[in-house]
């Protein structure tokens, strides 16, 4: 069987143990995070557990299908999406540390496979569902990169284009952390240029956009750039390492985990 049924979940994780109070959460770790940035997945689980969640990791999961979908190859994305829907259907809460993957599942599955799956990006889950204010200490100057899909597809914030009341869930989440100086780049929500396959299709423009974001964060004195999506951060990190620059990238989950452990 490909997935655990709802009833089987607690015993599957800790055989023989008593059922723990708290929210059961299935963790979706995006494929590239699983393989190249495992620390982001671990930090996500840590943060969720610290805030009272029982975290499950359905082991048959692979990917949401976005790489194929955004390339136009919907026939190839479909079975991957259907697989995802099957694996995560039994869980009430599915949390993913990526705005882009969350948007793919929530906003595009209906078109692709005829049914949406309820998923939450990590920050919106903490903010909207658990309604928690993380505490702790993280004495660093952090530049906030607002990843596009989290911002404009999930509305984690209001965005600079629209005339709506200013909101920012990520900023709110980080606001309770002591000594964390959260800095605004001069262009508050410009794309970093990753864009999935765009990074390869339009390599030159992609790199130019990334270097412009880096320059913006450098100019405001950030030591660390954070964001909700490791994909953007991987792109920026690749540029930073190539250029030998001291600016570092950390996923929001990593900052929360470190702050709360401090």
């Amino acid at each position: 069987m490909e997935f655990a049924t709802r009833a089987a979940i607690p015993s599957r994780r800790t055989p023989g143990a008593c059922y723990r109070a708290g929210v059961d959460v299935a963790l979706f770790v995006p494929c590239y995070v699983d393989q190249f940035y495992p620390q982001v997945g671990m930090a996500t689980a840590e943060v969720l557990e610290r805030h009272g969640c029982n975290v499950f990791f359905p082991e048959d999961q692979t990917c949401c299908g976005q790489p194929m979908y955004n390339s136009g190859c919907w026939d190839d994305a479909r079975p991957v999406a259907e697989r995802f829907a099957r694996i995560f259907a039994p869980y009430e809460h599915v949390v993913v540390p990526s705005g882009s993957c969350a948007s793919m599942v929530r906003n595009h599955y209906a078109d692709l496979i005829g049914k949406g799956v309820r998923v939450h990006e990590l920050c919106e889950f903490l903010h909207d569902v658990l309604k928690v204010t993380p505490r702790g200490r993280f004495p660093h100057k952090v530049g906030l990169h607002r990843s596009c899909h989290g911002l404009r597809e999930l509305r984690l914030g209001s965005g600079s284009e629209r005339l709506v009341p200013r909101t920012d869930k990520v900023r709110e989440l980080l606001s309770g952390i002591e000594s964390l100086e959260l800095l605004e780049p001069s262009r508050p929500d410009e794309c970093c240029g990753f864009g999935g396959t765009f990074a390869l299709d339009e390599e030159a423009v992609s790199c130019r956009m990334g270097r412009d974001r880096i320059a913006d964060h450098e100019s405001i004195g950030a030591e660390i750039v954070t964001g909700t999506d490791t994909s953007c951060l991987m792109h920026l990190e690749g540029l930073l390492r190539r250029d030998g620059k001291p600016l570092r990238v950390l996923h929001v989950a990593e900052i929360l985990a470190r702050a709360e452990a401090a």
Binding site: V29, F36, M42, R187, G193, E202
Partner: protein, 456 residues
């Protein structure tokens, strides 16, 4: 071949110029933001505009006929053109029949789209674009790179050199005011000598038969008023039902385009001037085909404000010419493939799908979702490169089998660790041309998670 990527790479290869262009266009986006903040009901206006356009498009044939009747009652002649060729033939016919050899034009992206200028020039008619930006690109023998600011890709020094060459301004003169003055007196002669004026149309009003042209330079008014003959060219989608709908559109157009509350001139034309002639050429050129496609019809709501270009991080860095079409940027990348999907198959991929265009659009066109929809459509038409099709097929195979996925991930991480840098960053690696590859941890998340579980 990915034409946009190639031309964009060329533009970006001059980092100073690309950065200058980005900043110049971003400045217009900021002006738009400031103008928008002065209108508290902005989002409501966007919704209203989108609804009016959706309604007008849903009854397009009826409104067009109503417009025709009312325009004719005002004394205008209305012509119908199925495509660019017919449009050009009609315009040329009107001019030829009246012996016109000198035509002044105000900005019209439709006539750019139809390539009217070369058509008329080949037939012995002198065509002078009178919008300053359009005149600059005309003298440069270049297409516009932006629909509102046609010469935004050119620096004032380059324009100074051009005017020195073509208009005889002093060498080295690059003061924008002085250059504008020079263009003004040069154009004044053209206006006075012209036998006909051609304008575009921003809004055609079904209930009155009148139409509105918005400019900042007054050139449309001069061109329409001095010569006895006025030809106005419009796409079928320019229709709005009622005059009072202008109260919505005129408030969002200039604010979105340039950050002005309203264009300097908003000229209403109701029939020909006394003793003159007014011809209105209504052009389809692929628009009704687009209307027939539910996925893409909303793109016909476009009012050509250019805000999606100004906000597009790709457009700002790659320049308008990289798109190879009259209307560049996000809206152009949606419109162009509907005319010729094979020729413009690269454009829906010239976007990161960041969605800024959708949020900035004053008529709420879901631009980045339409770009995504085009990608699916192009794949269905087998118009995406074969390497992408193969990669997607492999991706599907790997991601459908957890064991194969785990093995592939492991293999990739091992490769990243053990392969020599020369091999890892060889030509095949597009990612690695300007960036380093990601780190290669020994254990994936899932194996770390598993071992953590055992430890507890």
């Amino acid at each position: 071949v990915n034409l946009h990527a190639e031309k964009a790479a060329l533009f970006v290869s001059d980092p100073a110029r690309s950065a200058w262009h980005d900043q110049a266009v971003w400045w217009v986006r900021q002006k738009r933001d400031n103008a928008q903040r002065a209108v508290p009901e902005w989002e409501e206006l966007r919704s209203l505009a989108a609804q009016i356009k959706a309604h007008a498009l849903s009854r397009l044939a009826d409104y067009l006929e109503q417009f025709e009747r009312n325009a004719q009652a005002l004394g205008a002649r209305v012509h119908w053109a199925r495509d660019a060729e017919e449009h050009n033939r009609i315009v040329h016919g009107i001019l030829r029949d009246r012996g016109v050899t000198r035509l002044v034009k105000s900005k019209s992206m439709l006539t750019e789209e139809c390539h009217l200028n070369p058509y008329l020039t080949e037939r012995g008619i002198e065509v002078v674009d009178t919008d300053l930006g359009e005149r600059i690109v005309q003298l440069l023998r270049e297409p516009p790179s932006h629909i509102v600011m046609p010469a935004i890709h050119r620096k004032k020094e380059e324009i100074g050199a051009l005017f020195h060459d073509k208009l005889g301004t002093p060498a080295g003169l690059s003061d924008p005011k002085a250059l504008t003055e020079a263009a003004r007196s040069h154009l004044r002669e053209k206006f006075l000598a012209a036998q006909a004026g051609l304008t575009g149309v921003n809004f055609a009003i079904a209930e009155t038969g009148g139409f509105v042209v918005c400019t900042n330079e007054g050139n449309a008014d001069l061109g329409a008023s001095l010569p006895p003959l006025h030809i106005a060219c419009m796409g079928v989608e320019k229709i709005v039902p009622r005059a009072r709908d202008l109260g919505v559109f005129l408030r969002i157009l200039a604010r979105s385009a340039t950050g002005q509350p309203i264009t300097t001139y908003t000229s209403h034309f109701h029939g020909p001037k006394p003793g003159g002639e007014l011809h209105i050429v209504v052009v389809d050129h692929g628009r009704s085909a687009l209307l027939a496609r539910p996925d893409f019809r909303r793109s016909l709501s476009c009012i050509r404000c250019g805000a999606c270009m100004n906000t597009c991080p790709v457009y700002r860095r790659s320049g308008g010419h990289s798109y190879g079409v009259t209307v560049p940027g996000p809206i152009g990348s949606v419109l162009a493939p509907s005319v010729d999907s094979r020729k413009h198959r690269d454009l829906p991929f010239a976007s990161t799908l960041c969605g800024s265009c959708t949020d900035v659009c004053p008529v709420r066109i879901d631009l980045h979702h339409q770009l995504l929809a085009w990608r699916g459509e192009l794949a269905r038409q087998h118009l995406i490169p074969s390497y992408k099709r193969v990669a997607a097929r492999i991706g599907r195979g790997v991601l459908s089998r957890p064991w194969l996925y785990r093995f592939s991930g492991w293999l990739a991480r091992v490769a990243l660790r053990v392969l020599p840098r020369g091999l890892l960053y060889a030509r095949w690696n597009g990612w690695g041309r300007g960036r380093d590859l990601p780190p290669a941890p020994r254990a994936s998340f899932r194996s770390q998670w598993k071992s953590r579980g055992h430890a507890r």
